[in-house]
Symmetry: C3
Subunit: 403 residues, 3 copies
């Protein structure tokens, strides 16, 4: 009975999908702001369908074989596992491209390697978030190499690239966050007029990427929300992205402002996202020093930066700040792991009490990411995502058990 309801709900959702006009087929997912509203809604809807299918024990496996390359140029647990989960759900085997396992560090060009790993690959997931101006550029370089390889008959298919975090955006994170918001508020329409505060928060570490806050303000500003970006003076983000968020907000009937008081920003907030990041100008200097492999310079920059951070130890999200939000109960969001005061560090982004109230919510938030990635893959590879989802329903293969 429940199963039958589920099937009809799934069929309705798939039918809804068919009204959208995405241009996702054959296109890499590198930045949300390169994607149309229909693109975003398609990914969200497909992710929702895949999630429901799996819950109903319907296997959406659409690859009988094929590799998904996992190229992490920085550490990661949750995104790595999300990528592995998404790949596996669709039938792809993950193959890690690790520098310690490969010869890549020894003078091979990106161009060559991109082709060498792609003879039987369907997707390449890349995380490259360390250097400002580099990560996204690297992904496009890989993409150009794959285009060339495909055009010249080297590659039988053009593998799709999924941006698993770069210096500019973290689209699988921001889209999972948006999916979480839709699960809480019900529909994109319901987001209109909501106040979302993307706030800097104190952390005892330095060099945290800018891509999460940038991704959040760039994406959420497209849904008529009132976005407030709060940070201590000096902790600004890439200016072009901030400007874009302002334009987005204006166009979607929302608003966008920058403030320099965490407390002020929290007032009447519906949604808060307190998270640390490094200042834009520090990241610029850091990138230069990293390029020059200037260890002494990096050490000094870290000291300067940590000393500067320490001035803003009161930028911690705690119960007092929570009280300032709408009805004292804004939705708290975080990409995890959070620096939790007294838990993962002496003092950090959020107090233990405040975090604990939302801990399970942040787990749920994270749980959308594998489905977002799977949806990005499916819509990249299948021209008509609705049709393939219908085929999956018709086939009705169980994920667990004997069909």
């Amino acid at each position: 009975m429940i199963q039958e309801e589920r099937y009809s709900s799934l069929e309705k959702k798939i039918a809804g999908l068919k009204r959208l006009k995405p241009r996702l087929h054959g296109h890499d997912f590198l930045l949300t702001w390169e994607k149309s509203d229909d693109d975003l809604m398609t990914v969200l809807e497909v992710a929702g369908v895949l999630r429901e299918m799996r819950a109903a024990n319907i296997s959406p496996r659409v690859f009988d074989s094929g590799l998904a390359i996992s190229n992490f140029r920085d550490n990661s647990t949750r995104t790595r596992f999300s990528f592995a989960s998404a790949s596996n759900l669709l039938g792809l085997a993950v193959q890690d491209l690790d520098e310690e396992k490969s010869q890549i560090a020894h003078g091979e060009t990106v161009r060559e390697t991109a082709n060498m790993i792609s003879f039987m690959s369907d997707f390449i997931g890349i995380r490259d978030d360390m250097f400002l101006g580099e990560g996204n550029r690297y992904m496009r370089e890989v993409g150009d190499a794959l285009d060339e390889g495909f055009d010249k008959g080297v590659l039988p298919v053009r593998p799709g690239i999924v941006n698993l975090q770069c210096d500019m955006d973290h689209p699988t994170q921001s889209m999972a966050d948006l999916m979480h918001l839709l699960s809480v508020y019900g529909s994109p329409g319901a987001l209109k007029g909501k106040k979302l505060v993307m706030s800097w928060a104190y952390s005892p570490s330095y060099g945290k990427p800018l891509s999460v806050p940038q991704g959040i303000i760039a994406l959420m500003s497209r849904f008529g929300m009132n976005i407030e970006l709060a940070y201590p003076e000096g902790y600004s983000l890439i200016p072009e992205i901030v400007e874009m968020a302002g334009r987005n907000a204006a166009e979607s009937g929302g608003s966008f402002c920058v403030s320099h008081s965490m407390e002020e920003s929290m007032k009447d907030a519906d949604i808060v996202y307190p998270k640390s990041w490094a200042p834009f100008h520090i990241m610029q200097q850091r990138t230069e020093l990293l390029k020059k492999a200037d260890r002494q310079g990096l050490k000094e920059l870290e000291q300067v930066c940590l000393a500067n951070n320490a001035k803003f130890r009161d930028w911690e999200f705690d119960d007092e700040k929570l009280k300032l939000t709408k009805d004292g109960s804004a939705l708290y969001m975080h990409c995890l792991p959070a620096d939790i005061s007294g838990v993962s560090c002496e003092r950090g982004e959020v107090s233990a009490d405040a975090f604990e109230q939302y801990r399970i919510e942040t787990y749920r938030e994270a749980g959308f990411k594998p489905y977002i990635i799977a949806a990005m893959m499916l819509t990249n590879r299948f021209e008509d995502p609705g049709a393939i989802l219908e085929d999956i329903m018709r086939r009705d293969h169980r994920r667990v058990g004997i069909s």
Copy 2:
């Protein structure tokens, strides 16, 4: 013809399974002594059926997708491959959770990580055998986190945990060893009255876990065998587990005793398991020093321990000791790798001559482990293992070739 006989033998075994009343569905396999006799017999029978199915080229794949997380907090080849083999046989992809690949070492809580890796996971295999009082506790901590995640709707299924060796037990080893004994002696009834000697043996290394000898005496004492635990004075195991083995033996109609002479213990033995381990009190001190990261203390403890070991270099299983056993031909067992005198070390647990006579037997012994793990997974996930095995027979999918 052979194939037909195999099918009818398989059908008979599956029918036999249906008489057992296990409580394995939805329960982690952490310690054999938490499991009923029917639980153990069910795992053994399912393992036997899976083994025969694979030999008959019938694929018992019951997952179309899904991850099995491999979390090894200590090195391992054979158990790692056994876990990978079992997962693959059932259709799951292995995803390693390695500390060097993840952020786990950097302040994430177990609770959070357990959920983050489990959104599409069906099983987590954990080896954590280094610290007394820690490994099994860690597994339960992970289990609690998974329970919470599942109860609160974070996880679509509660992944099962398979203990791949902890500080207390090594259930996939002891169950594989028991399966080996059953393959040699024919039935649990045939084990009654057999003398099994679990003996300490000399090794030039220190800090070997206690979980194998503990697992062996705790499990084998349930089948009416006469168990003798032999070790030099001072090399005792966790007292509670030794006491339990005594109670088990009494209840099952066997006996249990401790002795301090390898030679004496070997007399009339049917089965001998000579293997090195560190003394309980040394492991307690070592755990404290490891917690404090006291390198100097650890170095000194190692010296003391090795010097102590050296007093017992004659605790080597050799042809002389073999002659003392029943008809001079007891079954020699080892979890591998053994410290073989003149092969892997100057002097070790077993002489090269004695080992060579049983080398192939020890390989066979090890070969049961992947099936034991697969059976633990299958019985955790399917309420009626007999029914799913029947479904697999009915489907009759080939493992190799075109069905």
Copy 3:
């Protein structure tokens, strides 16, 4: 329509296969010179069929489960990915046997480990190319251990071994190179009389294995080509393999000669393969020093060797040398990565201009390797490769999408 043509072309090729009488079933692929002409043609034809099937979205998956063990005792990107791709195409999951993940380095014998990793393995791919006289021997040692394990009932199947590069041969490379030549020239008959120059080239590194040039001259000399092996005096290969190439050439109606001038050798060449390697006698000394772990000796040898290399910096393949070849447009080949002057090093094996003209060709060349490996696996496991390929056609399962 295109699809229909493809099907009939595939059916014709499979029918052609049936005329060959290979002895590949159950035999490891360790050296091309142990294989008959029918063996080689079978592998090439099967590789071609698998490639066309995949392009036509027909999945040649013949394993429902099973492991392919990847044992790289040296770094590698392209061969590692080729092995992973081939395994995945046929339905096998790759399991890495890495020394840092295992206990292999700590006194385990090859014999034992080979069995321990093989209870559910179908193939073991091994790269071991560092020590002269060691790599191929190691593979045979593993093979003997697997034979024993299978004969004595430890292993349910005897896993096949694929040589992914040893000290003597690099058969997956040379066979992929041959497949490339056949795709350029059309048929083995068309290779007759072609001049192929396997030339040493300058590199600022030392210790490059001999297996690629050895594999090339040993294999290509079997097809009636005129092979010229060019190197500076002192840079000879393993003498027995050079002699064999001479005999092969004589028997196949071609010729074989050694020269010591890159320029002279290039005259009228149809195909050129300029690639660096270490001199045979240096590799012998290096092997001795590595065995003794003589760091100082190794350092000194490296200095001597690099100084010697530097005398031959003009052994660079450039546009001038290209002009000397047949119509100034010989086919340039390389196993990649090449040392490209001004790109991956100051001065290397090939000038940037010359390489760029053939860059895409070398990518295509590399793209045959996964199919060669898959064909080696398929012909090892299935007695009648034509029949199983027909079964795959009949089943007509899509690789991507819903069948």
